[in-house]
Amino acid sequence: MNVDEWLRAFAAELHRRRVATEDVRHVVAEAATHLRDGGGDPWTVFGAPDRYAAAIADSVGTRPAPRPGPVRLQAEGITKRYGRRTVLRDAGLTVRAGQIAAVVGANGCGKSTFLRICAGLESPDAGQVSVSGRLGYCPQQGGTVDFLLPDEHFVLVGAGRGMGRASARRAGRAAARQLGWESDEPVLTRRLSGGTRQKLNLTLSTLSEPDVLLLDEPYQGFDRGTYVNFWDQLLRLRDEGRAIVVVTHLLNQLDRVDVVLDLTSARPGGRP
């Protein structure tokens, strides 16, 4: 882990501990200045990012966890069959403003299908979904166009809500920067690395400032630093009061989420 990665991980840990955004900025900048002045390995100077973040949180105090807001997404009794195979049976999820929900389960248990039904891209055989406000959706793949530049993606997606060219580009670049990606270089999407393409994919879903954000494992191909940025960004969006649903098969992030829907138990025969 180099200095930048350490600093990013540190920032993410501070956010996670609900240290005020302003304080995070100052503390991280100060640590960066110190490391620049003195050199040295951040692991020696400050220790592990999470432990140092804990010490800082202890010293500056943290914001109280905001009370979850009104319900933004409610899915009830979702049942979906493909032929004779029941993929989802009576699945339900309620997410409030300011919450992150994780949809987990083994491969093929219908996580993506559930998300697509919530987004209204697929019809269930039974069940209802209500969505309050704007919906953002990030598909697992294919949400980008190989022969367009990142900026053109921003313009294209922005125009859906009547956003002008310049402001869409600005909003897109700003959102990309939150993921640690400077997107203003004119490189065709097909020339971007898998991880960067996913950053573009993710950036597009937050561009219209959705109230409900549905993410289908959008971090495939992310390196560790980007992965930390990704969660950092999710926590920030959550703290802004958005309702977020993220499909994941990695269990080690579950401590950061507020609601968990495990679809494994909804498999035919596996249901208690």
């Binding site: 009104p70 933004r72 039904i117 919530c118 987004a119 209204g120 891209l121 697929e122 019809s123 269930p124 069940g127 209802q128 979904v129 209500s130 969505v131 309050s132 406000g133 919906l135 953002g136 959706y137 598909p139 793949q141 294919g142 949400g143 980008t144 166009v145 190989d146 022969f147 367009l148 053109e152 313009v155 294209l156 997606v157 922005g158 125009a159 859906g160 809500r161 009547g162 956003m163 002008g164 060219r165 869409a168 065709l188 597009l204 879903s205 561009l207 219209s208 109230d211």
Partner: protein
Amino acid sequence: MNPLLTVAEMTLRELVRRRGVLLLLLLMPLAFYLIRRDAYVGQSVRALLLGISWAVSTAALFATGAARELEPRLRLAGYRPHHLYLGRMLGLWAVGVAIAVPFFALVAVDGSDLRYGGVAAAMLCAVAVAAPFGMLIGAVLPRELEGTLLLLTVVAVQMLIDPAGAGARLTPFWSAREIATWAVDHTDDGYLARGSLHAVVVTAVLVLAVAGVSTARLRRRRHVRHLPVT
């Protein structure tokens, strides 16, 4: 930004950047033209039109396939279905016209004693029909191989069928052929009138079919209730 024009613009940008594809799109009609050139220019013009039809519909087929995953996302980003399919169609029409222009110049230089207005009209008909035709196949057959094979079949039928027979009028690019005959062989104006009418009707039917399929695929589902932010 106007959403419809933005989709058209991006379709255009995307296609123009695929240099290889663009080159092959130009090569196809050229090959059709040259292969019949030794005999008689009228025959090559008709083959050329078929080449243009095929090139543009193939481009439309692949553009539709490439956009399959993107369109739901754009729909959620505020686009209405007609922004998406009409925008794409506009872009494809523009590409089609761009492909046709150099061939019109070629015919104008190479041919003699032709009704050039008729050649241009036939080219426009071919482009007008080809874009929604390729899009429709792309929308109905999700796998590109199947779509390509169907296109191949249609073009082969078009090439081999007796244009005077009743069945020929059911082929999509019959209009271009009729108008080309009028332009090349100086036949009576009935050819022009029949061809134009055919082009208008077929284009309209295809556009409506594309609209129907796209609107159905991108419809708001009944199970989702949209509520205002409270």
